[in-house]
Symmetry: C2
Subunit: 170 residues, 2 copies
């Protein structure tokens, strides 16, 4: 595992190269946003990025969006859907991002699975160069499952009672 600072330097190099190749400009805003991302590890919405930046730097929302887009294009951040929102996260040094998502309660849990990561390498991608992997496994978490079981049992009991009452009446 690379150190944060080391990662950030590597990422800056990728950005610099892309900027040069595409005759774009080096702006302090861009670097500031990138740096912020690499110093903290959370998933952030564009708005949250904006809020954090605002405190330490003059930036506009549009700039944040522009640069998130750029970072995404360069594979420097990943985008993950969470709570109906797109979130961004620095990803260099971690090629894969795996999580389970409970579709009932929304509970999200990250997991690591080296063999699964290897399986992605085994895929024959047609004319495509893989950089990142984001995989979400959707399903039902244990507490939502037991809740469903509880409800079912309750219903079954009620049904039994109803059946009994019917018998009595007739």
């Amino acid at each position: 595992m690379m150190e944060k600072e080391e990662r950030y330097q590597a990422v800056k190099a990728i950005l610099a190269r892309y900027i040069q190749e595409n005759r774009m400009r080096n702006t302090p805003e861009r670097l500031a946003i990138l740096e912020m991302f690499y110093l903290q590890e959370e998933l952030l919405t564009a708005q949250e990025v904006y809020d954090i930046m605002k405190e330490r730097f003059v930036v506009s929302r549009a700039t944040v969006y522009n640069n998130l887009q750029l970072f995404y294009a360069l594979g420097l951040v990943i985008r993950v859907e969470e709570d109906n929102q797109l979130k961004y996260k620095a990803c260099f040094g971690e090629r894969e991002f795996f999580r389970t998502v409970c579709t009932r309660c929304g509970r999200i849990q990250r997991f690591v699975a080296p063999n699964l990561a290897l399986a992605f390498d085994g895929v024959k991608y047609k004319r495509f160069h893989m950089e990142q992997i984001v995989a979400s496994v959707y399903g039902v978490c244990s507490s939502c499952q037991s809740k469903a079981t509880r409800i079912r049992k309750k219903l079954e009991k009620e049904d039994e009672l109803k059946a009994l009452n019917k018998k009595k009446k007739s």
Copy 2:
């Protein structure tokens, strides 16, 4: 592969059971939205679902959102991010959804990979019951790659010329 009609019947049964278990109501709107999803195979945004429904049925946006949420909770539809938007798609009968996404141009390509699907079965999920898998492999497609190469070559040529001119001057 199940037939569409068969799939739709199976899905209706799941919905009916959930509705009963949770003392919810059977409404024609709900069924109409579900049916629409199972008759067409596209990825749709909530707005698109609303637009389609509007033509054949009186529904409100809120109802569409409510029911998409419900279908999602039940694993009847999957949610995938595309072009900065959340899209929904009927998923019963296809447990996994794999795609490559070019982060430069946004080009998306679905792929099938049975071995990869198997690898997800091999993961030990902690207290979690898997229902669907959505995996996105981000990277650079071949045309974006060659474009970058072209630009790089052009820059290298320019650099050579500059170096030559400098020599001449001195």
